[in-house]
Amino acid sequence: MVQERANDQPPAEPPVLPRPDLSWKSMTIQWGTRAKVHPQGGLTLGALNVGAYAEIPDYWEDRSRMPRGAFSPPGTVGAPVGGYYLRNKSDFWAENAAELYEEAISRRWSSADSIPWAACRGLRDDVELAICQVATELSQQASIEIEVVSSWLQLMSYGYHEVKLFLATENFDAGRHFEVFRKRAMVNGGGLGFESPGQVNRLLLESRAGWTETSLLLHLLRGTFTRTVYRYLAARAPTPVELLIGRRALQDTSRHIAYAMQHLKYAVNHVTGLTRNLNVGLAQAEAIVGRDDADPVLWEALACVFGGGVRGMDEGMQIVARLRCDYVRDYLRCLDWIGVDRRSSLAPNFAALLVG
């Protein structure tokens, strides 16, 4: 019936459509700008910074989500959506962010199938318990890293997308570290141990002076410590499982530290008086590290792992002492590179580790 009625009607006039505006067609900064594809490396994020698109301003005016190089709708001024308080390039920029992003994507790994889990069976109970304790603390450190980076990421403006993308990979890396160490604690039935005293964790979570200051604490104060533990696990692990976890986590953490070094050097060179502020902040932070360090649980667990059990803990403690000395050396080496001299005013607890 419906069809019959329709056939009785005269054919409808086609609707009159508004004339296409097409003004958007001229809205491009530099028509014909092509990013080059590297014969080996493909089309990388860094390769998109070409021609006018390579201009990265010192200050990002816009407080919307507008990508760098795009336009706001005509008649509007980038509708602010709130947040994005970090708009100075010196707040979080690093020249190597795009390169590190590609590196992170290319060198990703999965703990589910990249680790030969069956190879860590059969450890003595004391070593297994010690590994579980170490894994508990490293897992917790990784979860803190996720929360710290996430809380700052949303404040960073879209004008410097390279850094936002890289820090997104850091969150994925930290997520992987959280779960790989949790898996290690669980795989042989040992389970999780004590959480850390948490003074440094709290310092990181409550750092509000700026992303630069937070990155200094997260990546250089804490990050170089975590990296040193990974180095020792990669060299002295009781089984191939911890060795491989240490080696791969070492690579990830070194990328995070590489970002921080470049960012901090850039910030120190562009913000007057920053070096002094960083020095003051580190003096306080080193003292807070000392409070966590007074807790013996992690040191004893590491000594048990490196010494091959409780009976080898004397030898293990000597290795732990070297680890802690190497940590302070690495920390100072990174600070030297960014132009912050802590050697002349190092906190007593750090200085004591250097002399053994």
Partner: protein, 150 residues
């Protein structure tokens, strides 16, 4: 049979790595790396998945490297023999273990540039795989004199 150390030896290992699925799975690498064996130094450019420009370099070119791995000749030989014997480095001969054993570490930047030196850590798994692949060669050794101070 390839002789260690020589440009040919490093080139042959580089060829093995470029054709190795596991090496590629570890991801892209970007580093100019030296290998100092006694008084002789060889360099390689790791460019994404390509490894090129194997050559012997002079001491004044050390500054162009991101880092170089330095050990006394006998320790190099022990590492390569261990890799051959175990089809991959045993726990006492991994790059990380050696790095912690040596007083000044294994990886060095000639100018003390900590950022460039850290590439040793960033690409650690790939470098280990590179050396592990030398197990497929029947290496002979013609070790140079130890460097001054070794």
């Amino acid at each position: 049979m390839p002789v260690f150390p020589s440009t040919e030896w490093f080139q042959q290992v580089a060829d093995l790595a470029m054709a190795d699925e596991t090496y590629r799975k570890f991801g892209r690498v970007d580093a100019i790396v030296g290998f100092r064996v006694g008084e002789r130094t060889f360099s390689l450019v790791f460019d994404v998945f390509e490894i090129r420009d194997a050559r012997e370099i002079d001491d004044d070119e050390l500054r162009d490297l991101d880092f170089y791995l330095e050990m006394e000749p006998a320790r190099w030989q022990a590492m390569i023999e261990d890799i051959k014997q175990n089809d991959g480095a045993g726990l006492n001969c991994t790059l990380n273990t050696l790095d912690l054993k040596l007083p000044n570490g294994l990886a060095i930047n000639a100018l003390g540039d900590g950022y460039r030196m850290d590439k040793f850590f960033r690409f650690n798994q790939s470098l280990q795989r590179f050396f592990d692949l030398s197990a497929r060669l029947d290496t002979t050794f013609a070790l140079p004199a130890p460097a001054a101070g070794d």
